[in-house]
Symmetry: C2
Subunit: 275 residues, 2 copies
């Protein structure tokens, strides 16, 4: 049985509308930490199994949740669980910082960066570039219907970075005005496809058409060790407007061939030449 305090964290993960895969993985690690304080022995062992299922079910297309659940050993020893959960959080934070460092090197003076939705890895890159004294401008989508983009505009406002918000439908128009595209990822499949907020593929296509390099920032724990693009189960949330049901898949899939590189904490992955 999962203790109700732990279920509450999982419930919060389910309800989260703005933040993505990195944040949810961190919340998931918190659930394991709390579990290690509340249970031990066979009860802990069984609860770890159940929490793993629940966390993966929060979003079946998020490799970060899958990888987290595999990172935590099924054991009755609370100390091991705590150590591994803390290690996961520490590695995630180090990864994000290193992505910020590596990714910011792609930003040239007066770059016009276009992005879609909200990605903490992309924000880390922008903060890093700012610390390195680079000046740049950001074009960002409002990202309907949950408007995660406006969460990014608040952050940029606070940092003093100039930005313009656009509707999602104007991605084609504004990709032509950008010099670099940077997005996050919820998952990267084994065949190099990027699962990210619906609309990401449109940005990749528009950048391809306009000759703008399109990069993805993703910690290595977002890489799915087994799933190919065709295996990805895309999650949908209810949404309606003016009495009509509106389809609302959260993610779309951008194939490798439209991606210039995936920025990870280990370096930048580039697609194989034969694609």
């Amino acid at each position: 049985m999962i203790p109700k305090e732990v279920m509450r964290i999982i419930e919060e993960m389910r309800l989260e509308r703005i933040r993505g895969a990195s944040y949810l993985a961190k919340k998931g690690a918190e659930a394991y930490l709390l579990l290690s304080e509340l249970l031990q022995g066979d009860e802990l062992k069984e609860a770890i199994r159940e929490v793993g299922r629940e966390i993966r079910a929060v979003n079946p297309s998020m490799a970060s949740l899958y990888n987290l659940s595999r990172f935590i050993p099924i054991t009755g020893d609370p100390k091991t669980v705590r150590m591994k959960a803390e290690e996961f959080v520490r590695l995630s934070e180090e990864a994000r910082k290193e992505i910020g460092n590596i990714g910011s090197e792609l930003i040239d003076e007066n770059e016009v960066i276009i992005t879609h939705s909200f990605s903490s890895a992309v924000l880390e890159i922008l903060k890093n570039a700012l610390r390195k004294g680079k000046r740049f401008k950001v074009i960002l989508t409002e990202s309907s219907p949950d408007y995660e983009g406006l969460h990014l505009s608040k952050e940029l406002d606070a940092l003093g970075v100039p930005f313009e918000v656009i509707t999602d439908a104007q991605i084609g128009l504004f990709a032509e005005k950008a010099t670099l595209a940077l997005v996050g990822a919820d998952s990267v499949t084994k065949d190099g496809a990027v699962v990210n907020k619906a609309g990401t593929k449109l940005l990749a296509l528009a950048c391809h058409d306009a000759g703008v390099p399109f990069y993805v920032a993703a910690e290595s724990f977002k890489m799915h060790p087994e799933a190919d693009a065709k295996d990805v189960e895309l999650m949908e949330r209810p949404y309606s407007r003016q009495g009509y049901r509106v389809r609302n898949y959260l993610f779309d899939i951008t194939p490798w061939k439209y991606i210039r590189g995936i920025i990870t904490e280990l370096g930048i992955l580039v697609p194989p030449k034969e694609i």
Copy 2:
């Protein structure tokens, strides 16, 4: 001087948020008709010049308004003005019907048609296909921020055509599920580019990627006799969300190379081979 009754029509044209170039051209013709009832001689002549300027300014990127203003002769004879305005309306209606007839031939049994925004020419094609006994399904975008798509969903609901509404950001995802794309146009430039609701280019790119034929329905009076894609002045309307200004260009430009054909009342135009 433009009589205030005529100015009221022009004001209505400026405020129109849902319907596009065909509707506005018809409203413009009504303005000329009313003018021919109210004025004559030099006063009429001068008012025709002024109305032409005002109508073109309603939306400088709409060739239909430009062509209407050129169709009406600058004359002091009310009868001539009335005749020409009536002729414009009649030709427009005939054109729309013939587009419905020609376009519906592209629709095969069980076609899955994806469209963006609201186009009266596309609706005419769908109605025509329905009359010919064809069964098909429509995927349509809500078309934020004015939601013209939901105007189309009401029409399809009334006709009993099955449809699904999607957010604009899911165009990439749902283009893969479609077998045919049909959109309207606000203008077609001399070099074959289609000016239509922002997001149309994204649908064209997604269809190109997914191998789905992309057709545009446009009466010949939407073809600009002089302007190239680079000359098009894209109109923007104010829009904000959560206190942030959001850019809101109404249109984007889809180049010839992504278009399988433009359905006009004269037949289907196909891009020249060298593109």
